[in-house]
Symmetry: C2
Subunit: 410 residues, 2 copies
């Protein structure tokens, strides 16, 4: 089959969706379950119905357009992403994948092609985490817990307000799990949110996996003291351990873990006055690796480094794990289908991992999942400056179409 | 004259004063103008009256015991310190100097010695700065401004509450200035609050000056970004500048300014999340030097270093001055009198500067001021663990007595 999506219809829909919650500067403000987000989802269902597709909303608020297969007990191939944004985010992150999925269904339907699988374009609830994070896809994968719903990062009150607005319930979320046997796979088109494709001039990224993330709250304990009368040489200054760790951890990752990243996103000294030597220094540490064994090894290296540095400065160290998620490898079959689709379109492609989290990481636990990246200008995202060339968006949608057809036909 | 103070009376008074506001662990809680502090001051005046001394309270709430000279137009030699403490502080800091001054007056009176100067033992208001800091001595030196009273570091509401409790007014504070012509000098006995005397085994510190302090709020500006997708090499991570500056500033001071100290008491990153590269890093910087020219040179070196480090990491720097005070050299005549007094008692002595602020720094602008330090265990102060051997306290009081007699007789 040599189908291609309709780039004009695709563009009109992308632009129409970008108007909902627009901030007027190219960006948009469409946090999960906000009024603007719900309007975007109504728009999505309306466009699906206009195209003669079935629609469905599950207990997690995931919104779907469905192109039924004539085979009644067929499995479902999911294509999707999300329409929610971070506050004052960009118009490509998530929305591109949802509109592209809808366009793929319309293209297949218009061509009169019948497939041995149902095609479902799905808009997952709260990928960005203004409420919980990958909420709808976690629910669909059966990984969501009541505990996560009870203490969401965005606050329970905000979650409840959004649920009320959208007519959702805790029970609905917890019962949204799909049977893996009912699924044929999952494909997601997304902007890269990093500079690798745009810097290398390669058109399509075949995602090999989504990084695992581990976070720690590290605390160095020294001795708070008078900053005027305590000699420099005899201080047990917790700030020295914290600063040395920050710099040395970066050097270690650059040298020994070139495919990983590390970040100290916050640092705080106590008591915290100009004239008192820091007795306590707290660090918010996060690191990522695409491989489970490597993530564990990196954790060991970083904690070992933190400990050695503490001893060096006469400090004691406490390390408290502050969450994380496992690496999610993408399905080799999905990767092969995406690479073949790119080749059928004469598009250059490269294998790369995703440094950011996506709904595909939830789906990887449930079914064969794959992700397609397209170039993202300067790697900027979560900003009104987020931008991808329209030609790249069309390329991505065509790769999504052809990879879906390939998986459907296998 | 070979007078010596009465060590038992001195000890009884010291212990009695330490009971007022005692926290039961050797420390005390006697913040300026608190109920406990006012009780301590009433006790001080009562003890002075019992000894047949005159008493006086000025518009700044400074409490004095006075031994009049028979010469009616004599100048006044002030001996003093403060009875307020930091919250949960120690029982030596300040109180020792006030009780010793009272003991000196009683010793001179009991010996029937008449002097060509009035002797005044003075307890200055709010040296520690729970309200303003060196408040009473600044008022006496005519250096207090209405602006300082209107926005005190402890908050105007707390200051007003204390003033109400003590029956003080803004006008009283601003009119408490003494005529320099009326003064013959100022001497203060204080614990070192640092480890130099105790480590060297020297009994008496002859203070050469009180350090000047300069504070800055430094801010590095980089680019906040996604901690997962932004390659390590291409980040404009403000935390790198802040941490490198903290470590390098310390090395520079240790190497090039061995008689100075530097402290980064607080550090804060923005936006401040685990998963966001710090776009902004703020530092609370403070540095001290006993010499005015050196303090200015150190300021230039540190700001230059901060700037170079910023460029190194692709960051911009803003530096905002956040206060400070000039170095206060002690009077050479007072230093000579203190050294001679120590020698007359066969006590080892050494010249050293004070890394902490004291009321003597206010007085240095007004009259010839001198300070006597005695050893302080482990250099600890502002803590219930603050401790000096009683023998050292007695030595200090005798040096205060003899230095006062020397200055009075010159």
């Amino acid at each position: 089959m040599t189908l291609l999506i309709n780039p004009h219809r695709f563009k009109d829909d992308f632009d129409a969706l970008a108007q909902i919650g627009s901030t007027g500067d190219g960006g948009l403000n469409r946090p999960a379950l906000s009024e603007a987000h719900l309007e975007a989802r109504r728009w999505f269902l309306a466009r699906a119905k206009e195209a003669g597709l079935e629609t469905h909303v599950d207990g997690a608020g995931n919104h779907s357009a469905i192109l039924q297969s004539p085979i009644s007990n067929a499995r479902t191939l999911l294509l999707g992403s999300h329409t929610d944004s971070v506050p004052d985010g960009g118009r490509f992150d998530g929305a591109l994948g949802v509109v592209a999925a809808l366009e793929v269904l319309r293209t297949v339907k218009d061509a009169g092609v019948t497939l041995p699988v149902h095609l479902e374009a799905i808009d997952f609830t709260d990928e960005e985490g203004t409420l919980v994070g990958v909420l709808g896809s976690q629910a669909l994968a059966g990984q969501l817990t009541m505990a996560a719903l009870k203490s969401p990062r965005g606050g329970r009150a905000n979650l409840e307000e959004g649920m009320r607005r959208a007519g959702l319930s805790d029970e609905g979320f917890l019962n949204a799990r799909r049977d893996p046997e009912s699924l044929a796979g999952y494909l997601e088109l997304h902007i890269e949110q990093g500079p690798r494709l745009v810097q290398s001039g390669i058109k399509i990224g075949v995602v090999t996996g989504i990084v695992g993330i581990t976070s720690y709250r590290l605390t160095y304990h020294g001795q708070a003291n008078h900053a005027g009368t305590t000699p420099m040489e005899t201080r047990a200054d917790a700030s020295l351990g914290a600063s040395t760790f920050l710099l040395t951890a970066r050097e270690m990752v650059l040298r020994d873990y070139p495919n990983c990243v590390v970040n100290v996103g916050q640092m705080n000294f106590k008591p915290g006055a100009f004239n008192i030597i820091p007795g306590v220094a707290e660090l918010a540490l996060e690191f990522r690796s695409p491989e489970e064994a490597q993530l564990a090894e990196l954790e060991k290296s970083l904690l070992g480094l933190a400990d050695v540095i503490g001893r060096q400065f006469g400090l004691t160290l406490t390390a408290e794990r502050a969450g994380g998620c496992d690496p999610a490898p993408m399905s080799p079959r999905a990767q092969a289908a995406i690479a073949a689709a790119a080749e059928s379109l004469a598009l250059s492609h490269t294998a790369l991992h995703s440094g950011a989290g996506h709904d595909a990481q939830s789906l990887a636990a449930l079914t064969e999942a794959g992700m397609i990246f397209i170039p993202s200008r300067d790697g900027i995202s979560h900003s009104p400056l987020e931008f991808s060339e329209w030609e790249d968006c069309v390329n991505g949608a065509n790769v999504l179409l052809r990879a879906a057809l390939k998986i459907a036909g296998e």
